[in-house]
């Protein structure tokens, strides 16, 4: 693995991390002030956060795998879509929403685990990161094809977990769906964080991701940790997928997560590919920014949202080439 250097504060007197947090704080302040001023602003911020929550789940999944293997898993979205279809199927067979949700998480975990074992490990053995990335693209094509084969290409209707209720606070209206989405997204990321920080297995996975050689010497089976990582990433993606499918603007179809995957990429890149917190912040930022731009700037029509996200990504990268919280790596000659 490339050597990693911590560059907290280089030639500048203020550590760059502080500046990043200052900018984020400034952004939050802007949102709060705007929300107080205008109920429309508040509404759009909340629904932007809901979208951002969905992107965050997928973005953290990407970071999880990237941190351990330096590979961008292009199939992450397709895996999420597949598991969402599984949830749909379970509900169609009569299970209640949350039971299906829980079962789907289990299926996703096992599926992710199995995919790493069966499809990725054989490639990893002899290939480089690029080879594995291409394999993940192959996986993407395969999975979307499989979805079409099993369930057909027509759009399906995914029931919403939250009753369609609107709350009115002040002059603003919030849908329970949006609030619930934010809640579930945050909860899933927090649960994962707790797992990594406070359990032995979580510690082992972190150790394996950060120093695989030293981890082996301590008795950790690094390759199993990798498979576990894929399982967890798949489960997280499943949450994102199920939330996405229930949201009014997204349709359950084989290509459902294609667009969201791109936003997740952008979020992960903005946050710095090695930082889960960064990915969450990036995702929320994208969700909110795009929503606000869409409402307040008239010439930004829906097709231009993706390019807008790209511009946002570019701006961040030009200032911080490794993302907000990315660690600049020392490059070997």
């Amino acid at each position: 693995m490339a050597a990693v250097s911590f560059t907290r504060g280089r030639a500048w007197s203020i550590p760059s991390v502080w500046i990043v947090w200052a900018v984020i704080a400034g952004g939050c302040l802007f949102l709060v002030i705007g929300s107080i001023e205008s109920s429309l602003f508040l509404q759009q911020t909340i629904s932007g956060l809901a979208n951002g929550g969905i992107y965050a789940g997928l973005a953290v999944a990407l970071v999880l795998i990237y941190r351990a293997t330096e590979v961008i898993n292009f199939a992450q979205g397709a895996i999420a879509t597949f598991t969402t279809y599984v949830a749909w199927q379970l509900i169609a067979w009569g299970l209640s929403y949350w039971v299906a949700f829980a079962c789907t998480l289990g299926v996703a975990f096992l599926g992710g685990f199995a995919l790493e074992l069966g499809a990725i490990r054989p490639v990893e053995r002899r290939g480089s990161q690029l080879t594995v990335v291409i394999a993940s693209i192959g996986l993407l094509i395969l999975i979307e094809g499989a979805i079409g084969r099993i369930w057909g290409n027509q759009v399906k209707f995914m029931p919403a977990p939250f009753p369609a209720r609107i709350y009115h606070v002040g002059g603003a209206a919030f849908s329970l769906q949006d609030l619930g989405t934010i809640g579930v997204s945050i909860a899933s990321v927090v649960v994962l964080w707790l797992f990594f920080q406070f359990t032995k297995l979580g510690l082992a996975m972190r150790a394996a991701a950060v120093r695989p050689h030293a981890a082996r010497l301590v008795g950790i089976r690094v390759s199993w940790m990798l498979s576990l990582g894929w399982g967890l990433a798949a489960a997280l993606g499943a949450v994102a997928g199920m939330l996405a499918a229930s949201s009014p603007s997204v349709l359950l179809q084989p290509s459902m997560m294609d667009g969201i995957l791109i936003y997740a990429f952008a979020a992960a890149v903005i946050g710095g590919l090695e930082s889960a917190a960064g990915a969450v912040i990036g995702a929320l930022a994208i969700g909110v920014t795009l929503n606000l731009l869409g409402s307040y700037v008239s010439w930004i029509t829906p097709p231009l949202l993706l390019p807008a996200a790209f511009v946002l990504m570019l701006i961040v990268l030009l200032v911080k080439p490794s993302g907000l919280f990315g660690r600049t790596r020392t490059r070997r000659v």
Binding site: K200, A207, R211, H213, R216, V218
Partner: protein, 235 residues
């Protein structure tokens, strides 16, 4: 044969370059054995051969079981702790997390182990949440030994523990190694450039030259016989 660790006719290579040739050595229970020699003689490679972090062939036995097909993880589980160059510190994790990882293969509560660690290294107490990468070189070496205390291995492989450390700290390190050996019954296989201190700590020594054993025998013999010392250790 009765030895805890027995290497017989071990070859090891890095790609096309052969690093060990027909190397044989043993370590008995509760022994401290030193491997000495010039740079490139194959000392580090020997340790890597044991933990299977280098391609090797030959017979390697630990407590009667073959190490031939066991990867580094399995070797660790058998009771061999390899502290490599760089100390194997998880720099990005905290001191406490490093210690927990040291005891990864152990089950059950680590409270007693942590108490023992503090007996050896009382200064660790206030440093639990410090990021391990910010410790000094000496402290990291101590941390590596602390991880070994958590683990209570049967065999400890130490790769150049004195590297980059001030003489005072080196003395501390070796004192702790001796304590580990005497109090916990840990056998130690020690690779070192600092021959003097090693010979004072180890009971037996091997001197390697270009991947082969050039001399083996009790430390006093190597230390006291000037001809041997001059030709093999240069002093």
């Amino acid at each position: 044969m009765g030895s805890l660790l027995a290497l017989h006719d071990v070859d090891a290579r890095y790609g096309q370059v052969q690093a060990l040739r027909s190397l044989s050595l043993t370590v008995d229970e509760r022994e401290i054995v030193a491997i000495l020699g010039a740079n490139g003689a194959g000392k580090t490679t020997t340790l890597r051969a044991i933990s299977n972090t280098v391609t090797r062939t030959g017979s390697l036995e630990f407590a009667g079981r073959s190490l031939a097909r066991r990867g580094p993880e399995a070797t660790a589980r058998l009771g061999i702790t390899h502290v490599p160059e760089g100390r194997g510190t998880f720099a990005e994790l905290t001191v406490w997390e490093n210690l927990r990882l040291g005891a990864y293969v152990r089950r059950g509560s680590l409270k007693a182990d942590f108490a023992r660690v503090l007996e050896y290294f009382p200064w660790l107490d206030g440093r639990r949440s410090q990021q391990a990468g910010t410790l000094s070189g000496g402290e990291q070496q101590m941390l590596a030994l602390a991880r070994a205390v958590m683990r209570r291995p049967r065999l400890l492989l130490l790769d150049e523990p004195s590297l980059g450390l001030a003489p005072l700290i080196v003395g501390e390190v070796f004192r702790i190694v001796r304590e580990l050996n005497e109090r916990e019954g840990v056998s130690v296989l020690l690779v070192e450039q600092d021959a003097r201190t090693s010979l004072a700590t180890a009971s037996r020594a091997y001197v390697l030259e270009v991947g082969r054993v050039a001399f083996e025998g009790p430390s006093e013999e190597l230390a006291s016989r000037e001809t041997l010392r001059r030709s093999y250790l240069g002093y």
